[in-house]
Symmetry: C2
Subunit: 333 residues, 2 copies
């Protein structure tokens, strides 16, 4: 029986969205147990009388919120849903951790409680993002777990992302590119020039540099980046799409009745645009390099992203991804 | 008489778009002379018989194109439109340089031919970008002139951008933010932590860190960034908006006749969206820190961006911006 530890208190729609996702999955995943950590009363209220021996509740009394300083919070809020859930994973009472709470605190739980895989220098955060012509999208690693990166970190991330893409996304020989400020081999600062050289020497399908404007262009299945630039690129991408969608709505609503009518007629087309950029189906961002799958979705997520993220975690357990990572680092250190 | 040296051969629509812009401006700017560098026959063909003593053509026989390696190109193509134009500026025969050719080569012309202002450590590239609620947009510096940046460079860029925003964009006490991976003062890698501390000590209206998703949010009039991340952020921003606009068109065209009709009715609304993100009216990206205004627009630009960029250059000359820079560095070194 696979066991997923679920921080039921993180995120704007907790625990409702989380419990709903679990209820949708409990029949679909008969070999999986869902352990929900949080305020027992609140969780039970969302369960609306459903009883299932594969849904367990562990009552916790504290919650880490977004304003908490990560490392301090995991030390001081020892009975928080996130920390207790992480301890279950550490002690082997659960196999994986899900949360949509404070990203920094989850990272701290991952590093200080669950622990790194032996040989991994730095864990990294890896989401799956949409591509304009490839339904499988692409992975970007690291998008912000590390403010300061060294060349050897990026090589390890590339390798782990490759294994993830092969095992979980079922992409044979995934194409790996380096986010850089130009296409040519000698582009970038000292860090990126060094990473380029190292990637060439690895047994990876390295396809060269990729620029910010090509991220959606299906040039790569995996984009490797230092955590600082990766964070800025990801947030710029999110901010740009949000502002355009917002302005599009305003433009269609505030330009008179004809435009409004047109927008109504075009609704189906605009919805197909939305579904094109629907990232929920890809699941959450994986905190890669830890002794167990630790995955997070956006704090604003409703049921749907949670549902897909739990499916993603279940698949990672089915495919024994962490064992694959361990095997690799045992043979390459 | 102000004199603008114009590389008439760079960009996809050269020399047509460039000559058209000059023809539109020649009456509007009676105190300005336009010196066009390039293939005399081609330029004269675009001039369609118009004669004006303030439009001069300097025939050149070579063109630097996008595939040329910048430093090599300016050495080997001594009779290229860009290099000859830059030499006119260096020799005082012109006061400013416009080009929409190879950015790297223009940067090389700026540094090696026109030269840096005494005291400026590194020139930087600064475009004006749209904001969601402020018609004046914001400046971002550096977006890629430097792959490797040091803290002191960013401080100088902040200062020059401040003078630009005050003199040219007429913003009093422009708000300056640092592009970083989080809001708190201790965010970022060593470089950005150091820059944060230094910016606090300067006589600038420093408003703290800004994240990638806040770029459009009118939190700052100037965003300071190292050239590597700035390049990635700018290109990510461009790529994201291009892909969304492309997919939006596809969604509206390929979802049946009703959607198409809706799109037709909503056209006016969608055009207002387009004008919201119209960056042409801001002019071009300034190569800041040189002994003369050097400004470039995108190689794909048609007449309109060229028109606004030439206006921008003219304003920089009217306001004696370079003298302001020189004065600052004379007193602060």
């Amino acid at each position: 029986m696979k066991k997923i530890a679920i921080d039921a208190m993180g995120g704007e729609h907790a625990p409702q969205a989380i419990v709903e996702a679990v209820l949708s999955l409990v029949k679909q995943l008969p070999q999986t147990k869902f352990i929900l950590f949080g305020d027992k009363n609140k969780i039970e209220n969302c369960l609306i009388g459903v009883k299932c021996e594969r849904i367990e509740i562990v009552n916790t009394t504290e919650v880490i919120d977004d304003s908490d300083e990560p490392v301090k919070a995991i030390k001081q809020k020892g009975d928080s849903s996130m920390v207790v859930a992480a301890k279950y994973v550490k002690d082997g009472q659960a196999d994986a951790l899900f949360s949509m709470g404070n990203t920094g605190a989850l990272l701290a739980c991952g590093i200080f409680i669950i622990g790194r895989i032996k040989g991994v220098k730095r864990p990294a955060l890896m989401p799956t993002l949409p591509s304009s012509s490839n339904k499988l999208g692409f992975n970007m690693i690291d998008v912000g777990a590390n403010a300061q990166s060294k060349p050897e970190y990026l090589i390890q991330w590339a390798k782990m992302a490759e294994l993830y893409a092969e095992k979980i996304r079922k992409i044979a020989h995934p194409r790996i590119a380096l986010l850089n400020n130009g296409a040519e081999f000698d582009k970038g600062d000292a860090l990126h020039q060094e990473v380029y050289k190292k990637l060439l020497k690895e047994d990876l399908n390295f396809v060269g540099n990729i620029e910010g404007n090509e991220l959606f262009s299906d040039k790569a299945d995996i984009v490797v980046t230092d955590g600082f630039c990766g964070n800025i690129a990801l947030k710029t991408l999110e901010g740009t799409s949000q502002v355009i969608v917002h302005e599009m709505k305003q433009s269609l609503l505030n330009n008179g009745i004809i435009v409004k009518l047109g927008a109504l007629l075009a609704k189906h087309g605009l919805q197909s645009l939305k579904s094109h950029f629907d990232v929920a189906r890809y699941g959450g961002a994986v905190l890669i390099g830890l002794n167990a799958p630790v995955v997070k979705t956006h704090g604003r997520s409703d049921k749907r992203p949670v549902y897909y993220t739990l499916l993603q975690i279940d698949k990672m357990l089915d495919e024994h991804l962490i064992d694959e990572f361990k095997k690799y680092f045992l043979n390459n250190n």
